[in-house]
């Protein structure tokens, strides 16, 4: 039982397509999750307890249950409810986004609350509204502090997108499992997949480090 490069070559076009799907899933998750996470993070900071409680509940649920379970619930439960039929790719994007949003909400909240109170007070004392102070004073500074933990979250999200294979979204792991099923081989499919993920996470982490440096010098 030698290492069979031929089956990797045979599956290469599929793995490449799978890589594009993985990138698509991850970018969508990052984008939607970040926007949603910002809104939820701000919602959690509302002073009124009743208004803030749905946001607390959201974070508790999505951080407190496995992504695997969430994907299954959304794929077989939520999406068919609205759409009549289900779609693995859409379900995966929804689940990844909703899950990431919960973590990103906490990153935003921590970033904003790590700023000294004096920044908000100075802005307000100059006559700026709460929204103006947030937009021009608090958020730009908080964002710089959020880059490292956000980067972590993006890398986790990229790797967790592999769970989408379970609902037949044709990403990297979907094709690796297909390869495994066809040839009853372990090393070829899974090492190939591991290598692709490693390349993706290393590129992402490189980009994030550069962004971080750029913001630091600004």
């Amino acid at each position: 039982m030698g290492f069979n490069f031929n089956i990797i070559v045979e599956y290469a076009p599929f793995l490449l397509k799978g890589t594009l799907v993985t990138i698509g899933l991850s970018l969508s998750g990052i984008l939607i999750g970040t926007l949603l996470g910002l809104a939820i993070g701000l919602g959690k900071m509302v002073k009124n307890k009743w208004l803030a409680s749905p946001f607390h509940l959201y974070v508790t649920f999505f951080r407190g249950t496995p992504l695997f379970v969430q994907i299954l619930l959304i794929h077989f439960g939520v999406v068919p409810l609205f759409n009549g039929e289900t779609n693995g790719f859409a379900a995966a994007i929804i689940a990844l986004s909703l899950n990431a949003a919960a973590y990103i909400a906490e990153i935003f909240r921590a970033g904003i609350q790590s700023l000294e109170n004096g920044q908000m007070e100075a802005a307000r004392s100059l006559g700026m509204s709460n929204a103006q102070a947030m937009r021009h004073v608090i958020l730009p500074q908080a964002f710089t502090r959020m880059i490292p933990p956000l980067g972590n979250e993006f890398i986790v999200l990229l790797k967790e997108s592999s769970l989408a294979s379970i609902v037949t979204a044709p990403e990297i792991m979907y094709w690796a499992r297909a390869m495994n099923g066809q040839y009853y081989k372990v090393w070829e499919p899974y090492l190939s997949a591991a290598l692709i993920y490693l390349l993706l996470t290393m590129s992402l982490s490189y980009l994030l480090t550069r962004l971080e440096r750029r913001l630091e010098t600004a």
Binding site: E116, E121, A122, A123, S125, G127, M128
Partner: protein, 240 residues
């Protein structure tokens, strides 16, 4: 110009301001002194509604700032505040710090805001630092920028909350000099400070606070040379 009636403020069970009555006339420089925890800073922060007021009224030019019908942002824009910790915006250059509020709140044009900002920087002697970031400035320079930033809104009153307490001794003078200049130009000022020399030289009136009350107020010469209350005497004997 400012009228404070029966002002009360508590943090939980801790009553910080018990019953403050005070009137400040236009162009007057009022210096507030007192031991730490006496409520001086809280009084200042109440005038700007940075603290929610528990009782009483604060009128600025006849308008009650505790009345929810009045626009708090508009009223704050008329009251400049300088903080002990400067609170400059570290992600913006000096000139951007000064231009931000006039641009966003008063909707002044970019050009006009910059001109005004440069004029004010000249006034505090820091024109050459316009494009520097706050972190590259000394404490005294930071505080002078903070004063220029507050002045850019053309406030009717300036509040100073221990403006020199976080500074190295050798730069205290440059900040006090800017404040003195401002007083000479007729700015209405309320200054919380431990600088008794400044109080004596620049203040029109000195207020001594202790335990949440105004214990004594008088012209500086009177209050420093001839304090009537025991608590004032005890405090002054420690700091003078």
């Amino acid at each position: 110009m400012i009228k404070i009636q029966g002002l009360k403020k508590s943090f939980g069970a801790n009553e910080v301001l018990k019953d403050i009555n005070l009137e400040i006339k236009p162009q007057e420089v009022v210096v507030v002194i007192g031991p730490s925890g006496s409520g001086k800073s809280t009084l200042l922060r109440c005038i700007n509604l940075l603290e929610t007021i528990c009782g009483g009224h604060v009128y600025i030019e006849g308008k009650d700032i505790t009345d929810k019908k009045n626009d708090i942002n508009k009223m704050r824009a008329e009251v400049g505040m300088v903080f002990q910790q400067f609170n400059l915006f570290p992600h913006k250059t000096v000139i951007e710090n000064i231009m931000m509020a006039p641009r966003k709140v008063r909707k002044v044009s970019e050009k006009a805001a910059r001109e005004k900002g440069m004029y004010l920087l000249g006034k505090v002697g820091l024109q050459e630092k316009a494009d520097a970031y706050p972190n590259s400035l000394s404490g005294g320079q930071k505080q002078r920028v903070a004063i220029a930033r507050a002045l850019a809104m053309e406030p009717k009153i300036m509040l100073f909350d221990e403006p020199t307490s976080a500074l190295d001794p050798e730069v205290v003078g440059e900040v006090l000099e800017v404040m003195k200049q401002l007083a000479l130009e007729g700015m209405t000022m309320v200054v919380v400070t431990h600088e008794m020399g400044f109080a004596r030289e620049v203040g029109d009136r000195v207020i001594f606070m202790d335990g949440g009350y105004i214990v004594e107020e008088n012209a500086p010469i009177e209050l420093f040379s001839n304090p009537r209350q025991d608590r004032t005497q005890a405090f002054l004997s420690k700091v003078l």
